[in-house]
C-alpha cells in the first residue's frame, strides 16, 4: 500500500535536522519483457537538472539481470499498468540492494530515482497537494538517545503522522525470536549428544575394567583415577568441540553460498564468531567431565575384588 505524508515540505522544515526523504510507489517498466518493480526516489539538494537528456536512475542488479538491461540503456517508467502516465529515464548505474534479513525471500526488482522525477511521475494532476507527499521521512538525530522523546514530541505536534524508531526493541524483533529458537534447538542437540557421550564413556569404562582393577590393587586411589577420567573427558570433549568448530568454519562458506544463490542476495546466513566458538568449548568441556566421571563412578564405586572379578 502506498502511504504518504502530505505537507511533507512543511513537516521536513519543522524537524530541522539532516533529512533524507523517500517516496515509493509501483512502476511498470515498458521495455521488452515488461515487469513490475517498486521504485523509490530520494530527495537531493541537487535535483536532476532539466535538460533534453532523460533523467538518470539506478536499477538493482536483480532487475538488470531479469530484464537484460545495462548502464546507459533507456527505459520508460509508468505509474500505472496501462502506461498512461510515463516518462523516459537513462540507467546511470546498477546497484546491489542492501541485504535485508526481513526481505531475503523477496526478489529485489527495484529502481531508484531522484524524488522530483518520481513526484512528476506519480503525482495526481487533479490534486496539487499530492506533489508534496512522501512515504517516509528518515531523520538522523544529533543524539540517538533522544529518539523516544523526539518521536512522541513529533507525534504530538503533527497529528496524523507516526514516528517510529529505526531500531527494534528485543520484544518486537523477529530475529531475537529466531535467536531463542536456535538456542533451544542447540540445547536439545546438546542433550542428545550428552546421552550418547555418556553411553560411549560407559562402554569405555567397561572396556578398561581390568586395568582399573589392577591400578586399584597397586594402591592408586579412586580420587586419582577419577581425576584421570575427568582429564580424559575434558580432552575428548574439547577435541570434539574444536573439531566441530573447524567443521563449522569449513562449511560456513558453502552454506552461505548455497543460500545466497538460492535467494539471490548478499546476505550472510552463517557466521562462526569467536564468541560462538568459545561458548561451544565452554559448554562441551564441563559436559565431558560430567560424562567421564559419571560413567567411571559406576565402576570405581565397586569393591576392588569385584572389579577384577574375584
Amino acid at each position: 500500500m502506498t502511504r504518504s505524508v502530505r505537507g511533507s515540505t512543511a513537516l521536513a522544515g519543522a524537524v530541522v535536522a539532516s533529512i533524507a526523504a523517500a517516496s515509493s510507489t509501483f512502476g511498470a517498466w515498458h521495455v521488452p519483457g515488461t515487469c513490475q518493480a517498486p521504485i523509490c526516489g530520494a530527495w537531493r539538494a541537487q535535483a536532476a537538472t532539466q535538460s533534453a537528456e532523460p533523467p538518470a536512475i539506478l536499477i538493482s542488479r536483480q532487475l538488470a539481470a531479469r530484464t537484460h538491461l545495462s548502464t546507459g540503456d533507456l527505459v520508460t517508467l509508468g505509474s500505472d499498468p496501462k502506461g498512461t502516465r510515463r516518462a523516459s529515464f537513462r540507467i546511470a548505474g546498477i546497484y546491489e540492494p542492501t541485504p535485508d534479513p526481513m526481505r531475503f525471500t523477496a526478489t529485489r526488482l527495484e529502481a531508484r530515482l531522484h524524488l522530483p522525477d518520481l513526484v512528476d511521475l506519480v503525482a495526481d494532476p487533479a490534486d496539487p497537494a499530492s506533489r508534496d507527499a512522501v512515504t517516509a521521512i528518515n531523520v538522523r538525530l544529533v543524539d540517538a538517545a533522544d529518539a523516544t522523546s523526539f518521536a512522541s514530541d513529533l507525534a504530538a505536534r503533527t497529528p496524523g503522522t507516526t514516528a517510529r524508531l529505526a531500531s527494534r526493541s528485543r520484544d518486537d524483533d523477529p530475529f531475537a525470536v529466531l535467536d531463542r529458537f536456535h538456542v533451544a534447538i542447540s540445547a536439545v542437540t546438546m542433550a542428545g549428544g550428552t546421552a550418547f557421550l555418556l553411553a560411549l564413556m560407559v562402554i569405555r569404562a567397561e572396556e578398561r575394567r581390568e586395568t582399573v582393577g589392577i591400578l586399584r590393587l597397586l594402591g592408586i586411589s579412586r580420587r586419582t583415577l577419577l581425576l584421570s577420567v575427568a582429564i580424559e573427558g575434558v580432552a575428548i570433549a574439547a577435541l570434539g568441540a574444536v573439531f566441530g568448530i573447524l567443521l563449522a568454519f569449513a562449511t560456513e562458506g558453502l552454506v552461505n553460498r548455497i543460500f545466497q544463490a538460492r535467494y539471490d542476495t548478499a546476505l550472510v546466513f552463517v557466521r562462526v564468531t569467536p564468541s560462538i566458538a568459545l561458548r561451544s568449548v565452554l559448554i562441551a568441556a564441563p559436559l565431558g567431565i560430567v560424562a567421564g566421571i559419571a560413567a567411571s563412578w559406576t565402576l570405581l564405586r565397586r569393591d576392588v575384588l569385584s572389579i577384577v572379578r574375584r
Binding site: 500500500m1 502530505r6 499498468p81 497529528p159 524483533d173 534447538i185 542437540t189 569405555r204
Partner: protein, 400 residues
Amino acid sequence: MSALHLAWRTVRRYRAQTILAIAGVAVIGALLFDMLLLSRGLLLSFADLLEHAGYDVRIVGGGGMTLRMPIPDSAAIADAVRRLPETETVVLVRILPARLAAPGGKSSASVALIGVSGAAAGAWTIVRGVDLDRASGDACPVILGRSLAARVGVGPGDHVRINAEQVGVSSALPAITCRIVGVGQFAFGGAGDDTVATTLDALHRASGEDRVGDADLILVASRPAAGSAAAVAAIQRARPGLAVYSNDEVVEQFNRNGFAYFRQISLVLSSLTMVFAFLLVATLLTVSVNQRLGEIAALRAIGIGRSRIAAMLLWESALLVGVGGLLALPLGELLALGLDRILRQMPALPEQLHFFVFEPRALVIHIAVLVVTAVAAAAYPMWITARMPIAATLRREVVG
C-alpha cells in the same frame, strides 16, 4: 535361539549403555520429528486459517497479496462477481487505521478498523455478545478483539468513540460513537490483537470521506458445485486484469516466498540430526561389537551362522533406534509445544497460526528415516563380524 532373542539378551545385559543410547536416539529423534512438523507446519496452519474463514477466493488490489492497495471501482466489481453463477457470497473489506477511546476517555488505543459488507463469517469468532448482522438498529455496531477489549476495559453494550484516519492525513473530524455488540477472536489477529470490525457504512462515517472509499479486499465464497478454480476463472473472464487468487494459490504464493526459510531450516536440521544419529548409533554398535568379539566368535564356533549374527546386530540396532524413535514421538510433541511457543512470539503473527503441525506424512517420513538409520548404522558392525576369523579371534581372546 532366534536373532531377535539374542539381540534382546544383549541389550538387557548392557542395560546402562542401552538406556543411554535409547535416550540419545529419543532426543535426536524428537528433534527430527519436530523438524518434519516444522517443514510444512506453518503452511498447513495458514491453509487451515484460510479454509476456516469461509471464503475460497480473494480479489486484491495492484499490490498483490503482500501489499494491500485499494481495488479501484470495488463496489461495481463486487456487484459483477455476485451475479456470477459460480459464486455464492461476496464480501467487501476495507481497513483503516483508527483511534479508539473508551467511555470517559479513560483509555485509548490505536486500532485497525475493518469495515465489512455483512458479517464476515469465519473471519472472526464471537466470544461474547453477538455478530454485526444481529445488531440491527445500531448506526455503528463494532466487534472488538479479545485482548483489545480487555486492555481498554470494555465489553458488549459499552460505547466507544472511534476516529478513523486516512494514512498520513491530519484530521480534526470529531470521533463517532459506536456500540460494542460483541467481543471476538479474529482469525488473523495477533496476540496483542488491536482489531475492531464494523460495517462498511460505519467505517465510511468514521472516516469522514465525501465518497465511499474503495475496498482493500473482496472475499468470495464459491458455490460448492463450482469450486474455487471455476470461480477464479469466471471472475477473470468477467473482469480481465483483476488480481484474483484461490486459497490454494495464496498458500502456494506464501509457500514460495514467506515460508521458505522454515522449510529450509527444517531440511538442514533434519538432515544434520539424522547424520548425527547415524554416526552415534553406528559408533555405539561398533564399539559394543569390538568389546564382544570373543563372545561373537564363540557363537560362530558353536554353529550359529553369519547371517544370524548379522541379523542379531540388525535387531540390536533396530531395538535401539526403534524404541528411541517411538519415545521420540511423545517427546517431540512436548518439544514442539515449547518451540512453537518460542516462535509464536514473533511480532504481528496471527494468534491462531502454528509452526509445528502434525500430519500423517511427517510420521511416515519419520519412520522411514529411522529405518534407514538403523540399517545404515548396523552395516559396519555386521561387516566386521561377517569377515571375522573365528579361530584367530578366539585365540586372541584367550591369550589376551
